[in-house]
Symmetry: C2
Subunit: 336 residues, 2 copies
């Protein structure tokens, strides 16, 4: 048996290309005392990974050239010399874009496959779910009857944010990039309204139409001109949760935008950026609540599944282009 790894081959200029990645094969490591070997079943593909491909100081160090790409994985333990884990266990952790990974058990979470499909540990019952839960509820503090706008609304996080806001009694308006996604948000996920930003000429006018009472909470995954338009429509004491800025990640050079700080004064509004990690101590609370809603059918998910580790780069690029609805996964192997 061999390990297949996807390395960062070169740093992208602008939009990543498949040639920025490199698939290599190496021999399978053997766990030493205190270690376990995990076979990847599902790899999670997420926008934050684009940031790690840049050689820029940020909240986390960049992936080095020639290193395995970072990423969340659901896998199965194939061999263990670690007291907590046994061969056959299902686990989740940041094990990277590879078919097997050695781990010392730190940050590895054991999964119960009877509670929910194991792939959900990468979406609703994992980082996407926690990001939506804490970002919306703690940073956004939505109140029943308020209007919540979500950008990237059909993505892994956005689709959950909108559903949580609905559970909390808010009016929810989603923004997505295809008519199919817009239909999905409104017909399947129960958003009150949604629009396709790619076929909308005047975002500000559209937001005015769909948010006649203004915007109380904005959950931003996207940034750029859409976010500029949202700032024009925020209500007094509005809260803007900055989760992602995917429209900006692949620009060769940063684009300027309209200044909006005066608007924050006028509306006494707050803008706050967050990273899910800052809520680490409260993950159990978030997972418990998301699991309850998910099992009660109050939160639905959709997974887009690419097949084979070798297709991770193209699936990742597709996700950055907005090709997926819901969570983008790569199925790497089938459980034993």
């Amino acid at each position: 048996m061999m390990n297949q790894k996807i390395l960062l081959a070169q740093r992208p200029e602008g939009f990543p290309k498949t040639s920025d990645f490199k698939l290599v094969t190496s021999s399978l490591p053997t766990p030493a005392v205190g270690e376990l070997l995990v076979r990847t079943l599902y790899l999670s593909l997420d926008p934050y990974m684009r940031g790690r491909m840049n050689d820029a100081k940020s909240y986390a160090p960049p992936v080095k050239l020639g290193e395995v790409m970072v990423g969340g994985v659901v896998g199965q333990v194939t061999a263990s010399q670690h007291p907590t884990f046994q061969a056959g266990d299902f686990v989740e952790g940041f094990l990277g874009w590879q078919t097997y990974a050695l781990s010392d058990g730190k940050g590895i979470r054991k999964l119960d496959p009877n509670l929910a499909p194991i792939s959900t540990a990468l979406s609703v019952l994992g980082m996407s779910g926690l990001t939506a839960y804490f970002g919306l509820l703690d940073i956004g503090q939505p109140q029943a009857g308020e209007t919540v706008v979500v950008s990237g609304a059909a993505g892994a996080v956005g689709s959950l944010v909108g559903q949580i806001a609905r559970i909390k009694g808010c009016r929810v308006v989603g923004v997505a990039g295809t008519d199919d996604k817009v239909d999905y948000l409104v017909r399947e996920l129960g958003f009150d309204a949604a629009f396709n930003y790619k076929t909308t000429a005047d975002y500000s006018q559209k937001l005015k139409e769909l948010c006649s009472d203004g915007i109380d909470v904005y959950f931003d995954n996207v940034g750029g001109p859409l976010t500029d338009a949202v700032f024009k429509r925020i209500n007094v004491r509005a809260r803007v949760c900055i989760c992602g800025q995917i429209s900006q990640y692949n620009l060769a050079r940063p684009e300027p935008g309209p200044r909006f700080l005066w608007k924050l004064i006028e509306q006494r509004a707050r803008v706050e950026g967050f990273l899910v990690f800052q809520f680490a101590e409260r993950y159990p609370e978030g997972l418990r609540q998301m699991a309850e809603w998910y099992r009660a059918g109050k939160i639905k998910i959709r997974e887009e599944i690419a097949e084979g580790i070798e297709n991770a780069p193209s699936a990742f690029i597709g996700m950055l282009q907005g090709k997926n609805t819901g969570k983008q996964l790569v199925k790497v192997a089938t459980a034993a």
Copy 2:
């Protein structure tokens, strides 16, 4: 006796001119039952007034053409048919740019001239003081040992913000527009450092030099390129208090700026705009604390005093140009 009023004669395009104002004379009104007549002693000149000269919807309605300019006043009651006020009383209220004003007593605060010079009811013991107190402490939440940067630091609000931050044990760096102001901040007000943005080519580099541990709290009165540079230096969980954006008020057309929302994610930082009015229920607390610090000599103030209501427009324009250090007042009459 006649009343002299300064009216808004035309809406400024870009920077206001004295011809945007008009001095008119009218007969002195007589208070009816429930009213009082106040003679203006001091008129406060503040940046927010520039916003009221525009015909734009904002948190407060604009001054109409031909209306008396809005403004805070310290005055003396000359005649009263109001149960709370008597002739001779010193009062403070939003009575406008005029030598006399009729009032129904709403929003009028009686002053005790034995506690502090009456003009302080327009600065440290009035709106400027309350803006600094609540803006810094409630929105900024500075902790001892943190680095606080203040723009417009030698202005009426900024000079108080820096001193409050010092009282709270913070390291304080001020930004102002003349070398004299910089000297004043450091030598007289005890700021740890300050710089003249008009003679500094690279704000970002200067902030790096003066804030070697990064910036935890930024109190912004100014906006524009200085604020852009501050965002590059904010620390994890930084708080940015948006009080004013005076660099933007007189632009004929808005200027774009660099997008910084990604930085908020990276640093899990918060930006919040505020208006002092949102703290109205807590004004007594703010005034009590500011008075205690002021009387204990922990907070110093400077007043720039123009003479004569007819000079209010030029003094106002001078304030927008940054000619004043500390509070810009107009002395309109001497107390009886």
